[in-house]
Amino acid sequence: MTTDPAHTSPLSLTVPEPEFRPGDKPDYSTTPIPRAGTVRRPEVDEDPEQFRELAYTIIRVLNRKGEAVGPWAGLVDDEMALTGLKDMMKVRAFDARMLMAQRQGKTSFYMQCLGEEAIACAFEKALRPGDMNFPTYRQQGLLISGGYPIVDMMNQIYSNERDPLNGRQLPIMYSSKEHGFFSISGNLGTQYPQAVGWAMASAISGDTKVAAGWIGDGSTAESDFHAALVFASTYKAPVVLNIVNNQWAISTFQGIAKGGSGTFAARGHGFGIPALRVDGNDYLAVYAVAKWAVERARRNLGPTVVEYVTYRVGGHSTSDDPAAYRPKEESDVWPLGDPIERLKNYLVGRGLWSEDRHTQYKAEVEAEILAAQKEAEEHGTLHAGGKPSVRDMFEGVYKEMPPHLRRQRQRAGV
C-alpha cells in the first residue's frame, strides 16, 4: 500500500463548462476548422478502418469565396442548388411566421431550426420515395423540402379543425408516412432504435428502402442512442444515423453529453460503424455526405453515423431564453456561418442568383407563407375558431374502441 500523500488528498468532481457564458466575449478564432475541400472522399465500399479520421475532421465543400471545392464537390447540380436555397428560405420564413404566431398566442409552443436549415433540406434530397425518416422536432426541413403542404403543417401547429392529427399532438410533432416522416415523439432518442428496426424490417423483407434516424447532440446521451447503435451494428441495418450537433441541449452545452469523447461521430467507431463528420451549414457538403451514407445503406453495406456540426441560433423552443445561458453574440461569431448566406454566395458566384433576386424571392416566399397562414387561420387557431371535436379525443386509442372508453365518452357527454 502506498503512503504517497498525493493519494490521500480529496477527490474532486469534473463538471464540464462551455467556453463562453453570458458576459463573456465569444471568440472562435483559434478553433480549428478544416479548410473546404481538404478531406478525402472514400468509396462507399472501402474498409471503414481506412477512413476513421473522417469522424474527427469536418467535411466541407463551400469555401470562404463561395466556391465548391474538393472531392465532395460536384454532386449538386445548379438546379438542385437553386432548389436548396429556396427550400431553406422557405423553412426560415415558415419558422419566423410560426414563431410570431406563438408569440401572438395562436399556438402554445414552437420550435424553429434557425441556422440548421441546410441539414434536413439537403438530406431529404438524398432519399428516395418510400424511404423513412425518424426525425426529431427540428427536422421540419424534411417536410418542406419534400413538398408537404405548408398549410397542413400550420393546421397541425394551430391544432385547428383541419389538423391532420386531430389536435392530439403538441405543435410541430408532425407525422406523414406518405412523406417518409415518422410520427415525432416528445421523448428524446426513442426514434433512434425505431429507425434501426424499420431498416431491419426492410432488409428482412428483401426490400430496397432505407431508413434515417435523427438525434441531437444532447440526446446521444440517452440509452436508446446506444441501443440503436448496437442493433444497427449487429444486424448491419440499412440506416443512416444522423446526429445534429447544434452545440446546445436547451441550456446544456454539448460537452455534457459528449464527456471525454473526441466527437459524437466517433461514438460510431466503438460499435464498428463508420462515421463521417460534416459541416452542417454547408448545403453542398451535407448533400454529398448524405448521398454517400444513403448509398452505402442501399448497397447493403450497413449503417453510417453522420455528425452535422452546426449551431442552434435560436432558443431551444419558445419556452427558453438563450441569453440566460450563453452570450448573445455567440451565433454571430460562430465559425461555420449561415447556411443560406453561404449557398446564396455560391449561386451568385456562378451567375445563377443575385442580391436583387434574393430580395425578391424572400418577399415571394414570405408572401406564400403568409397566404398559407391566412388559409390555415380560417380553420382556427389554438384558442379561436374551428377546433377538432372533443368526441375525437376518445378515438384512435385502439383500432376499435373498447367498452371502457365508450362508457367514458358517454360520461363526458360527447
Binding site: S183, N187, Q194, G197, W198, T234, G396, P402
Partner: protein
C-alpha cells in the same frame, strides 16, 4: 388435438402465426438458436430461418424500439422479454411509443406488436425473476394486457394477440409453464398432460381478447382471478367447501366487465385475487368496478388477496405467495361478513 404444456402451446402459437403470415417475426434474448431460456421459441429459427427468428442484444429498450420500427414498416413482431422483471428499460418504448403511436399519428403509423414475458413467482427466482408488473401496463392507454392460465387459452390468446392491430403485453405465468400449480408448493404438481386444458388444437384458433371465462360455476361468492391464481382459487374453493364462482379474466385490458358484473350480481359477494403487490394493484381497479356496478347486490365488502407490499423475497417465497390458505381466509371472511 395434442397434449401440450404451456411452453409447447405458446411455441405452437408462434409457429402457427409465423406459418400463416410471413410478416410475423420473433426475436429476443436467447430466443434464436437456443430457443429461449424457457424454450418457448425452440425450433422456430430452424423452421423459419434467421430472418424471422433471431437472437437480440441484451437491450430491452432496443428490442421493443426495433419492434416498433418494424411494425411501422409493416411487419408484425412478437418479441420476448426474458423475464417481466427485465422489462423496465423498455418501459419508455412501450408506454410513450408503442401504446401512443396510433393515437398521436392519427392512425398514420401503428404498432401491432406482441411483447411476451414470463411473469410471477413460485420458482425461487427472488426479487428479479418473480415480479408481476401487470398493473404498470393496465394503467397505460393504448395497450392490451393478457394473462393466460392454461395451455389452451395461452395458444388461442397468443395467436389473437399477434393478429391484433394494437400492442399487446402478453404475461406468461412461469409457474404454470409445466403444470396447473395451485399454490401447494409442498405437493407434486399435476402435469398439463393430465389436465383437460392441456389438450390443445394443433392448428390455428384464437381466444378473443377482452373475454373472460367462468372456470367454475358457483352460487356463494365470485372470485376474480387470472394466471396462476385461477388454480389457487380452485384449490381454496375445494378446501373450504364454499361454492365460489371463479372468473378467469384472461384479458385485463380491455376488461370483460359484463362477465364480472353478471357473476357478482348473481353471488352478491366478491374476492379479488392476484399475486402482484396489493397497493395500487389491478385488484384495486377490480374492486372499484365491482363497487361501482354491483353495489346494491353486494352482501359484504369486497376482499382482496394479493402479494405483500414488499419486494419478492427469496427464502420467504411461500410466506409471500398468496396461496390457497390466504384465499380461503378471504372466502371465509366474505361469507361471514353479513
Amino acid at each position: 388435438m395434442a397434449r401440450m404444456t404451456m411452453i409447447e402451446s405458446i411455441r405452437s402459437a408462434m409457429h402457427v402465426a409465423m406459418d400463416r403470415d410471413e410478416k410475423v417475426v420473433v426475436f429476443g434474448e436467447d430466443v434464436g438458436y437456443f430457443g429461449g431460456v424457457f424454450r418457448c421459441t425452440q425450433g422456430l429459427q430452424q423452421t423459419f430461418g434467421k430472418n424471422r427468428c433471431f437472437d437480440a442484444p441484451i437491450n430491452e429498450s432496443g428490442i421493443v424500439g426495433a419492434a416498433i420500427g418494424m411494425a411501422a414498416y409493416g411487419l408484425r413482431p412478437c418479441v420476448e422479454i426474458q423475464f417481466a422483471d427485465y422489462v423496465y428499460p423498455a418501459y419508455d418504448q412501450i408506454v410513450s411509443e408503442a401504446a401512443r403511436l396510433r393515437y398521436r399519428s392519427n392512425g398514420d403509423f401503428t404498432a401491432p406488436i406482441t411483447i411476451r414475458m414470463p411473469t410471477g413467482g413460485g420458482i425461487f427466482g427472488g426479487q428479479t425473476h418473480s415480479q408481476s408488473p401487470e398493473a404498470l401496463f393496465t394503467h397505460v392507454s393504448g395497450l392490451k394486457v393478457v394473462v393466460p392460465s392454461n395451455p389452451r387459452d395461452a395458444k388461442g390468446l397468443l395467436i389473437a394477440a399477434i393478429e391484433d392491430d394494437d400492442p399487446v403485453i402478453f404475461l406468461e405465468p412461469k409457474r404454470l409453464y409445466n403444470g396447473p400449480f395451485d399454490g401447494h408448493h409442498d405437493k407434486p404438481v399435476t402435469p398439463w398432460s393430465k389436465h383437460e386444458l392441456g389438450e390443445v388444437d394443433e392448428g390455428h384458433f384464437t381466444v378473443p381478447l377482452g373475454k373472460a371465462v367462468t372456470r367454475r360455476e358457483g352460487s356463494q361468492v365470485t372470485i376474480l382471478a387470472y394466471g396462476t391464481m385461477v388454480h389457487v382459487a380452485e384449490a381454496a374453493v375445494a378446501e373450504t367447501g364454499i361454492d365460489g364462482e371463479i372468473v378467469d379474466l384472461r384479458t385485463l385490458l380491455p376488461l370483460d366487465l359484463d362477465a364480472i358484473v353478471a357473476s357478482v350480481r348473481k353471488t352478491g359477494r366478491c374476492v379479488v385475487v392476484h399475486e402482484a403487490t396489493l397497493t395500487s394493484g389491478y385488484g384495486a381497479e377490480l374492486a372499484a368496478l365491482v363497487q361501482e356496478h354491483c353495489f346494491y347486490s353486494l352482501e359484504a365488502p369486497v376482499q382482496r388477496v394479493a402479494g405483500w407490499d414488499t419486494p419478492y423475497p427469496h427464502a420467504q417465497e411461500w410466506d409471500y405467495f398468496p396461496g390457497p390458505r390466504r384465499v380461503a381466509e378471504a372466502l371465509t371472511t366474505v361469507m361471514e361478513d353479513v
